[in-house]
Amino acid sequence: MWRYLGKRFLISFGAVLGIVVIVFFIVRVLPGDAAVVRAGPYASPDTIQEIRDRYGLSDPIGQQFVTYLSELARGNMGTSIRTDQPVTGEILQRLPASLELAFYAVLMATLIGLPIGIAAAARPESWVDRAARVFAVLGSSMALFWLGLLLIYFLFYRLRWFPGPLDRLGITTTPPEPITGFFTIDAALRGQFDVVIEAFRYLALPVLTLGFVLAAPILKMVRASMIKTLASDHVRTARSLGIPHRQIIWKDGFRNALIPVTTAIGIVFGYMLGGNIIVEFLFSWPGVGRYAYNAIQNNDLEALQGFVITVGILYVGLNVIIDLLYAWIDPRIRLGGKMAT
């Protein structure tokens, strides 16, 4: 087990290093001169050159790379040409907003997809199964922005059930002192339960938007995995021995279907890690997705690099966690046997 984990960490480190190298060179072939954008309409050649010199954009590419690597080793991802602020600080400031949104969206998607998928698999070809499949098709084909617009229009504008797309908290609400960066958790830890409720109210619409769409792939994976498991020999044996249906579903079916389901949830969460640009844009959510969008529009190289590297590191970390979960789910991995695929 420890050898397995050690190997995973080494591979992860190599992956992160590869991401850093590839991202550095890829962003530099993107079209657009960041110095020109920063200089604005009064962009004299002298002004543009001065900006290039200030941000090291005139240095040879090799020198830029070495400088970037040495700064990155110290946790410094450079300075945003758009805001003149350290990229590390800007990303860390925005990351909790995206992670909080991702967490609850994936949680909602799991809470929707998991039980419906299990119910569908337990009653194949029943109305439950058919309804689940319709839901899966709807969720897979639903345009995020369209669903988001509908929810805003009806649930905010018409019915006033939820607040408008204006950030994570109300205008007059002071955010809780940060501990995790998650307003819902930080406020709870500080005893500000009114802020907890308000944070959930502002989360509701973007989480609903994402959760509905993300539930579809989870549902499909759960259903398919459960059906396969319920058709296996050991389950047939369990049925023939008269073991209760509910026990078969949960103990024999679901537990054995967990590995691919965990993978599916991990993929969904990984997809969310980079922030969802559309949802953050629509709901004015101050996350890394919008940050990345602004960076792309302005060819803000350092910000773009920082964003991709951060997401890459998070994604690698997530995969390590998933591997640990595999070990917990599948004793064969824990005991050093055959690895689950």
């Binding site: 079209p31 408008g164 409720i197 060819n299």
Partner: protein, 561 residues
């Protein structure tokens, strides 16, 4: 194992109950005290709106872009200009005149003292201008430090010697040396220009010349950041109506009245919260629902839909800005004047005003727009759609086939719509256009590199001076003369008009220049967009000055109206 499904059910139930509770709850938690975030503090920690002081309401504004940098001498986003306008008070301001719709419009003819209590401008024997400003002795920075002539001297020196872009503008008013800015005593400042330009007085109303706290900035200067450009990226150092309460580039900015402001009793609100709401549709919904008081950057088509809503007011005032299609004369066949004339006369000007701008624009009708002083309407009227004339010009050009690429910005929907209409009309006279939509950075780079044959771009001149506009956009060698046109006779006329105070001379010279510009078919001037804003029904006090940046000092709202 038997307990786990139960645990999952309990957890699911808890989450569902929390969501239901959240949906049903209408209680707003009370705000708590916030920390200041002016130049004396580090990065702000909170972003809550200000507590109402007395009975004055707080104002909430939704802007379309982020406040990226609030250093006042750096080119920045539109939202950032709104913030710096609130933080830095210049020597003068325009006198506001209330329009029929309640908009406070800044006068082009009358200026009044802002940070200066009084002023005098006289002509010098050397053919320049000398302005003497007597500063208010009760004007203070947010930390209580008095605003003195030394602070204004420092500000002007910074624009001339520092790395910002403002130094490029000062030659228009004949200032190029710190020696021309003189401190007579603590509250008397002299500014001497070595030319006579009508823009001189107007420049003194610009926020970029607002007093900066010299003592604070010199204390925070470093070897790498001599003029504190980096230091001020997220802080204020001014003495204007507001001070910076908090600053979060992606969330928003909170401004509260400067407690030491000399005219505090006339500030109509208890503070302003600026929020970034990137999607225009959401901004419109929020102002309709009353969650915000002012929204800017609403597209024309959406404005027409809002017109029927009693809960909102739409302000629309003509500006002197210009949206134009440039023709790069360095790229054949655009070096052929008849090809350019053909293109110019094939553009569907009226259709653009009706179908792209939905009436929220006026005809541009030239580089000196129809809304600008010295505009010659006879020449302006000749920018008309005439497909027969366009076809004739194309035949006269001797060019067999014209295939060109028209570039527009991805972030500008109106430009993209206009490009489609232009493409269709040009096809009718035999000119084939391919429309390319580019992200901002790519567009800017290629525009600066002179790689675009046709492009749609825009410009607005602070100060609204026609010669400033002509000089920047269309004289030989100017870096924003993206059409790469050069005409010495035209340049001489522009030079003459720039430094003349005589209205008749300026009108005559401007007319001659406009004629040359039209004859050479340098651009197709598409429209002059109105400056629009949408407010709640009971919001008043919106103002508009030379810079088109919304001012908040007089904005207020009532519960019923």
């Amino acid at each position: 194992m038997q307990h786990r499904p139960k645990l999952v059910r309990l957890l699911a139930l808890a989450v569902v109950m929390a969501m239901v509770l959240a949906a049903c709850s209408s209680a707003e938690p009370e705000s708590t005290e916030t920390t200041a975030a002016d130049g004396t503090d580090d990065t702000p920690e909170t972003t809550s709106a200000p507590e109402p002081s007395g009975e004055k309401p707080g104002i909430v504004v939704a802007l379309g872009d982020t406040v990226n940098i609030i250093e006042p001498h750096t080119f920045r986003s539109t939202a950032a200009y709104a913030v710096t306008d609130a933080l830095y008070e210049p020597l003068l301001e325009q006198e506001f005149e209330e329009q029929a719709d309640g908009l406070l419009l800044g006068s082009r003819q009358k200026h009044v003292g802002a940070a200066a209590e009084s002023y005098e401008i006289v002509e010098t024997d050397a053919g320049g201008l000398l302005a003497t400003f007597n500063l208010r002795q009760d004007a203070m920075f947010t930390d209580g430090t008095p605003v003195t002539a030394e602070d204004f001297k420092y500000t002007f020196d910074r624009t001339i010697l520092g790395p910002g872009y403002i130094g490029l503008l000062l030659p228009f008013i004949g200032i190029d040396s710190p020696d021309q800015i003189r401190v007579i005593d603590d509250y008397t400042l002299e500014v001497e220009a070595n030319v006579q330009s009508p823009l001189f007085e107007r420049f003194m109303t610009f926020q970029v010349f607002g007093a900066m706290n010299k003592e604070l900035l010199e204390a925070n200067a470093t070897a790498e950041d001599e003029w504190t450009f980096q230091y001020l990226a997220d802080k204020g150092a001014g003495a204007s109506v507001y001070t910076l309460e908090s600053f979060n580039p992606d969330s928003g900015v909170v401004l509260v009245p400067n407690p030491n402001y000399w005219d505090l009793e006339n500030v109509a609100n208890s503070g302003v919260t600026l929020r970034t709401v990137p999607d225009a549709n959401q901004r419109a919904l929020l102002v309709q629902s009353g969650d915000i008081d002012l929204a800017t950057g609403i597209p024309p088509q959406l404005l027409t839909e809002l017109e029927g809503d009693e809960n909102v007011k739409i302000f629309s005032a003509p500006t002197t800005g210009v949206q134009y299609m440039g023709m790069n004369q360095n790229i054949p066949p655009l070096d052929n004047v008849d090809v350019r004339r053909a293109i110019m006369h094939a553009v569907p000007y009226q259709a653009l005003l009706d179908q792209v701008m939905f009436g929220f624009a006026t005809p541009a009708a030239g580089v000196v727009t129809s809304t600008m002083e010295t505009h010659d309407p006879e020449i302006g009227a000749r920018y008309a759609t005439d497909l027969e004339a366009a076809a004739q010009y194309l035949a006269d050009s001797g060019v067999d086939q014209v295939n060109l690429e028209l570039f527009v910005r991805e972030t500008n929907a109106s430009d993209q719509q206009a490009a489609v209409l232009i493409q269709d009309n040009l096809r009718q006279v035999g000119i084939n256009i391919e429309v390319s939509v580019l992200p901002s950075a790519d567009f800017s780079e290629r525009l600066n590199a002179g790689e675009m044959p046709l492009f749609i771009h825009d410009w607005y001149s602070w100060g609204e001076d026609p010669f400033y506009q002509m000089r920047f956009l269309t004289t030989c060698g100017q870096f924003v003369n993206y059409s790469n046109w050069c005409n010495e006779e035209y340049d001489a006329l522009v030079e003459q008009g720039t430094f003349s105070l005589d209205p008749e001379v300026r009108a005559d010279v401007s007319s001659q220049a406009q004629q040359i510009f039209f004859d050479n078919a340098v651009w197709a001037p598409l429209w002059s967009a109105d400056r629009t804003a949408v407010t709640g029904r009971c919001v008043t006090g919106l103002d508009r000055d030379y810079t088109l940046v919304p001012g908040f000092k007089y904005m207020t709202k009532t519960d019923s109206c």
